[in-house]
Symmetry: C2
Subunit: 331 residues, 2 copies
Amino acid sequence: MPDTQYDVIAIGNAIVDVMAPCSDAKIAELGMNRGGMTLVDEAEAAALYAAMGPAREISGGSAANTLAGLAALGDRCAFIGQVADDQLGAVFAHDIRAGGIDFAVEARAGEPSTARCLIFVSPDGQRTMNTFLGASQFLPAGSIDEGAIAAAKVLYLEGYLWDPAEPRAAMRRAIDAAKAAGRQVAFTLSDGFVIARHGDDFRALIAAGMIDILFANEAELAAMTGESDFEAGVSALAPQVPVLVVTRGEHGAVALAGGERAQVAAEPVAKVVDTTGAGDLFAAGFLHGHVRGWGLASALRTGAIAAAEVIGHYGARTEADLKALVAAKLG
Amino acid sequence: MPDTQYDVIAIGNAIVDVMAPCSDAKIAELGMNRGGMTLVDEAEAAALYAAMGPAREISGGSAANTLAGLAALGDRCAFIGQVADDQLGAVFAHDIRAGGIDFAVEARAGEPSTARCLIFVSPDGQRTMNTFLGASQFLPAGSIDEGAIAAAKVLYLEGYLWDPAEPRAAMRRAIDAAKAAGRQVAFTLSDGFVIARHGDDFRALIAAGMIDILFANEAELAAMTGESDFEAGVSALAPQVPVLVVTRGEHGAVALAGGERAQVAAEPVAKVVDTTGAGDLFAAGFLHGHVRGWGLASALRTGAIAAAEVIGHYGARTEADLKALVAAKLG
C-alpha cells in the first residue's frame, strides 16, 4: 500500500452552530424535542432564531467536529462539505482550515445560505438542535476528489448527510473510491431519523462489507437492530462490522472488534456546560487511536477524554490543547 | 421631569467579535501591539483572519457590551449603531434585541460589511484587538431619535465612535438632545488613540458641561490630563466632571463625585480567560447603580462584579445571570 497523504478524510455537513442557553420550560414552549435534532426550513429557522436568547456562533457539523479533534491530536485530515458564498460560509471555511485541515470544495454561489444549527442549551448541558441545512445539502458528487480519498487511511462519513440526495451520491462515490484503494470506511449513524429513512441502505452497505468502523449511540443501536436491550443490540450488530463503537453518554462506551470487547467509563467533568459535540469528539479520539494502531481500550479512553473536554464549554470544537491533554491522561 | 422610557440609551459601534486564543510569540510575529486596539482596513482584516486560529463569533462593540450588561441587570435600554445588511449584521441585531434592548436603526445596504473585531486572546487572558469598522462608521446623524434620547435617564457614548465623522455628528446631535431634555450624558474615553486625535473635542465638551459621567482607564486618564502620576491625573480631571470613574484593571477602580471619593478592589476571578469587555461591563455595573441612585461604593462594587464575570470566559457579553450574581454578592 502506498504512503498515505491523510490519516482521515471526512465528508459531512458544513454547519455553523448558533448557541444560546435556554430553560427547559422555554424549550417545551417552543415545541422542541429536548435533546433531539430537528431539520427546519429557512422560515422555521428564522422564527426559532427570533425566539432565541443572545447567542454565539461556533463552527460545527458532526464530521467536521470530529476532524477538528483529530487535527488537534496531530492527525493529517481533509474535509469535504459544502458552504455557500456568504459570511457564515467564510467563517466555517476559516475555522476548518485554521485547524490545519485541507478543505478544497468551493463555496456555492446564490441561495440557499450556509447551513446553521440553532442549539438551545439546557441548564444541565443537554443540547436541543434545529438544523437548517442550506447549502450543505447540495454537495455535488463532483466534489469528491477520488485521489485524496485513495490517499487517506480512513474515509469518515456522517449519517446526517445520507439524507439529502446529492451528498448521498457523493458519499457512495467516495465509498467506492476508498474500497477500490483498499482503505477503511468509518460511518457514524448520527440520528434515529436517519436510520428510520435510510436504515436499509446502511444494512446493505454493511452486508456488502463497505463499512469497516461503525459508530452508534444507544438509541441508534436500537434503531438499527430493532433490539431495545443494549446487549441484544450489540450482539446483533457486532458480528456484522469489523469494528463497532457504541457510546452511552454518561455511562461511557463500548467497542468490539475481531471478537475482542473493551469498554471505558465516561471521563469525569467538573461541570457539563454543553453536550454538543460529545459524540463527535468521542469518534475523534477513537479514530486517533485506531489509525495509530492502538488497542481498543486506549482508543476508547482517548475518545472519552476528548468528549469530556468538549462538554465542559460551549461549542463542539475543543478549546484545550487536546494533544497535551491526552498525553497527560494516557501517560 | 417626565417619566423615562429608558434607563440608558447608548450610541456605539455595532461589531461582531471574532476571537481565538493565540500565543504571545504569534502576536509579536504578526506585528500586533499586545493589549492594544488597532484599526485595520478590510484587506488587513482578511490577512489577520487568515493567520488566526479557529475562532468563535460573539457580538461585541464597547457601548453595546455595556448595554447588554445593563439589560441583564434589569435596566431598560436602547442602542443606536450601524450594521450592514449581511449575516454578521443580523447576528449583531439578533443578539442585542434578544437581550431585551430596543434597536431601531435599519441595516445599511451594500458595502462595507458589518464591523468585525479580530481578537487574539493571550494565555493570560489579555486581548489584542484589530477592528475593521465597516458599516459601523457610517451611522448617520439622521439615525438619532431625539425623542428616545429625551426619554432616557442617561445617554451613554463610546469614544471609539467619535473618530469617524458621521457618527461624531450623530453623537453631537444626541448630546444636544439629551441636555435639552435635562438628561445626563455619560462618556467613555475608549482608547488613547481616540484622545490623541480628539482630546480637544472632549476637553471642550467637558468645559461646556456636556459630560456628566466620564469613564477612563489609567492610560486614558494620563492621555487626557498629561499627568503620568495617577493621583495627579485624578486631581486634575475630577473637578471638571460631576462624576469621574477610573478603572485600574487588577487594581480595582476609583470614583469621584461631588467631593466624595470611593474605591473598590478588583473582584477575585478563578481564572482570567479573556479580558475583552472588562471595562465595558465595569461601566454597566457602575451605571446600573448610578441610575438607581446607589452610592458610589455600591455602584463601583457592581461594576467590579460584572467585570469579573465577563473575564472568566470568552466574549464581552456576560454568560451568567448577572442580576442574581449581583444580588447575591451585594447582599
